[in-house]
């Protein structure tokens, strides 16, 4: 039970930590955004997982069905996905403009140019 029952959570935590690690460790601005996405997706999975009720079906009224999964977390995550898309697109737009202004999207090269200025 302990390990296998919490199987999904292990995956979520692994995803979450790899995402966060990419954000911290990567030098390339686009890769950082990808890491941020992985990190956010792990949270989406966390919410979706918690809405599942063992043996439950989709929450549509029908005969012979008494156990329903909780739809609310799924709805919440729809909102969070929209927010995530907005963040990603804004982040990538910023990277494009950074590339125009600096001619590079490597963090250390940008820092070097700023130090010279």
């Amino acid at each position: 039970m302990e390990f296998s029952g919490l199987f999904v959570y292990w995956i979520i935590v692994a995803l979450m930590m790899s995402g966060l690690y990419i954000v911290i460790a990567q030098n390339n601005l686009v890769k950082k955004i990808v890491g941020l996405n992985v990190f956010q997706v792990s949270v989406f999975l966390l919410y979706i997982t918690m809405g599942k009720v063992t043996g439950g079906t989709a929450p549509i009224l029908a005969d012979n069905i008494t156990v329903y999964s909780n739809p609310l977390p799924h709805v919440l995550i729809l909102t969070a996905i929209v927010v995530g898309v907005a963040t990603t697109s804004l982040g990538l737009a910023l990277v494009v403009r950074i590339h125009e202004a600096y001619g590079t999207i490597e963090d250390d090269e940008i820092l070097e140019q700023d130090d010279d200025a």
Partner: protein
């Protein structure tokens, strides 16, 4: 009739005005619309504050769906007060914004600037007024996304990298916040803040709730730039267009502090989390380090906008120190300082906006002789600086005095000593500017009077004179903050 719907109007008016700005496009028309909307928001928030003072908490169910199923807006003393802070800063900044933005933002991007100012204000007001933890996240992201765009509107390319770094840090912070909310939902099945406050005590001992608290605290600490999670702030404030810096410095971190207060004292108030988990000392220690590190680094800055940004970190330290005391006195000192800091830092950044407007730079060396060239503007800087130090008869003194009293009540006299010493550091960095502006002879620039335009100097003086007025009459703000703190502490057990 309209009175009943004030809470939703507070948020929906700027939200609806934002897309209208995109259609209008004309710089002056969008500016006029934004200004009018910001004044309407101010009127609504004052109206709400009066209603709360007269009749107590206002609960507004959106769409008639009762909480905890529906989303409700809740206005109590604390949120009404933060609403007034945000909207009054907005109302003062907008008239100022016109010339400053024309100078520092490309003309074809001006309508985006006004749209984003409205969206940012919508988000900040939404965070303050909502009674739903997930709704708070959505508003947090609305205001954050708008502020990333605002910072990136800078003509300095470093504004772009500052906006990018803020985006990464801000998104990590907000995602931490929803992880925390999700974990709380797992254990309680509720997202309503008032409902959570009732349900949390039963499950407080579980690992899940403790993990939730950790995620919420770290996430919000990132947003409010508590040391050592502050790295995004100095560059974001230094390289954003001046008027954006004024608005963000005076409101964004303050609203994040508000969200932090809601989580710590309302959601986790039932189990008195600061004491029961002993994070009180940790918060106080971080706050004290922030006070010193912020002020010390500020001394070495050559860009004055950056210097004021570091000084903000120190001031956030005072606010968090007040909150960490976990007493009525401490919390109200923190809340008063939140208000006072919004006034004085808003005013000081406005002064820098005027300086950038006239001399095109915020560097210390370029400010030589400004005391003669822009006497009125620099007088505002001196008054704001005195307030930052905490000289008597200014707002800075009122809140530091309240904080000292609260600290001494706890018997933490070494901390009281540290507050005084860190205030002395503020003397150093304010004096550096005064010395250069008044006593250093400029090398080339003309010494003739060349004041910033009236429409920029007047809003600056409104904020600075408010900082003096509330310093002379400290009771008004202290009473409201005291009321708000008392309501919060009543929830503690």
């Amino acid at each position: 009739m309209i009175e009943a719907h004030l809470p939703i109007l507070q948020v929906i008016i700027p939200l609806l005005a934002a897309p209208i700005c995109v259609f209008l496009r004309h710089p002056v028309a969008t500016w006029a619309l934004t200004t009018v909307v910001s004044w309407i928001c101010l009127a609504i928030s004052i109206w709400l504050l009066q209603q709360v003072q007269a009749g107590g908490e206002i609960i507004y169910e959106i769409g008639g769906w009762a909480a905890p199923w529906g989303i409700e807006y809740r206005v109590d003393m604390l949120s009404a007060w933060v609403l007034v802070i945000v909207t009054s800063i907005g109302a003062v900044v907008m008239p100022y914004a016109k010339l400053s933005a024309e100078k520092e933002i490309d003309r074809d991007r001006l309508y985006i600037f006004y749209t984003m100012m409205l969206l940012c204000e919508t988000g900040l007001l939404g965070i303050t007024i909502t009674g739903d933890a997930f709704n708070l996240f959505v508003f947090l992201e609305i205001s954050s996304l708008a502020s990333y765009v605002l910072i990136s509107l800078s003509q300095d390319r470093r504004g772009l990298t500052a906006a990018y770094r803020y985006l990464i840090m801000g998104t990590v912070g907000a995602t931490f916040y929803i992880i925390g909310v999700g974990l709380m939902y797992m254990m309680t099945g509720s997202l309503n803040i008032a409902d959570l406050a009732k349900l949390i005590p039963d499950v407080a001992a579980t690992r899940t709730i403790q993990a939730a608290l950790a995620f919420l605290t770290v996430g919000l600490a990132l947003k409010l730039a508590l040391f050592p999670l502050h790295f995004w702030l100095p560059n974001a404030y230094a390289f954003a267009p001046s008027v954006v810096t004024v608005f963000l410095a005076a409101t964004a971190t303050k609203v994040a502090v508000y969200a932090f207060v809601r989580i710590i004292f309302t959601v986790f108030g039932g189990i008195n989390i600061l004491q029961s988990l002993q994070i009180q000392d940790l918060l106080a220690a971080l706050a004290i380090v922030a006070m010193f590190a912020g002020s010390a680094v500020a001394i070495y800055q050559t860009n004055i906008k950056r210097m004021l940004a570091y000084s903000s970190l120190a001031q956030i330290g005072y606010i968090i120190l007040g909150l960490s005391l976990n007493s009525v006195g401490g919390i109200s000192a923190g809340l008063v300082h939140l208000f006072n800091h919004a006034l004085m830092k808003g005013g000081l950044f406005m002064v820098m906006g005027c300086v950038v407007y006239k001399i095109g730079s915020a560097k210390l060396d370029d400010m030589a002789g400004l005391g003669k060239r822009m006497p009125v503007t620099m007088a505002a800087f001196v008054l704001g600086g005195l307030s930052l130090i905490g000289v008597p008869l200014t707002v800075g003194f009122v809140s530091k005095w309240a904080l000292l009293q609260a600290v001494l009540d706890k018997g933490w006299w070494p901390v009281a000593l540290l507050i005084v010493i860190s205030s002395l550091l503020a003397v150093v960095y304010v004096w550096r500017v005064v010395e250069v502006a008044y006593f250093k002879v400029p090398s080339t620039a003309a010494m003739e009077k060349d004041e910033a335009p009236f429409s920029m100097v007047l809003p600056t003086f409104i904020l600075i004179s408010a900082a003096i007025y509330f310093g002379l009459d400290g009771t008004t703000a202290l009473d409201i903050a005291g009321d708000a703190a008392a309501t919060l502490v009543r929830g503690l057990k």
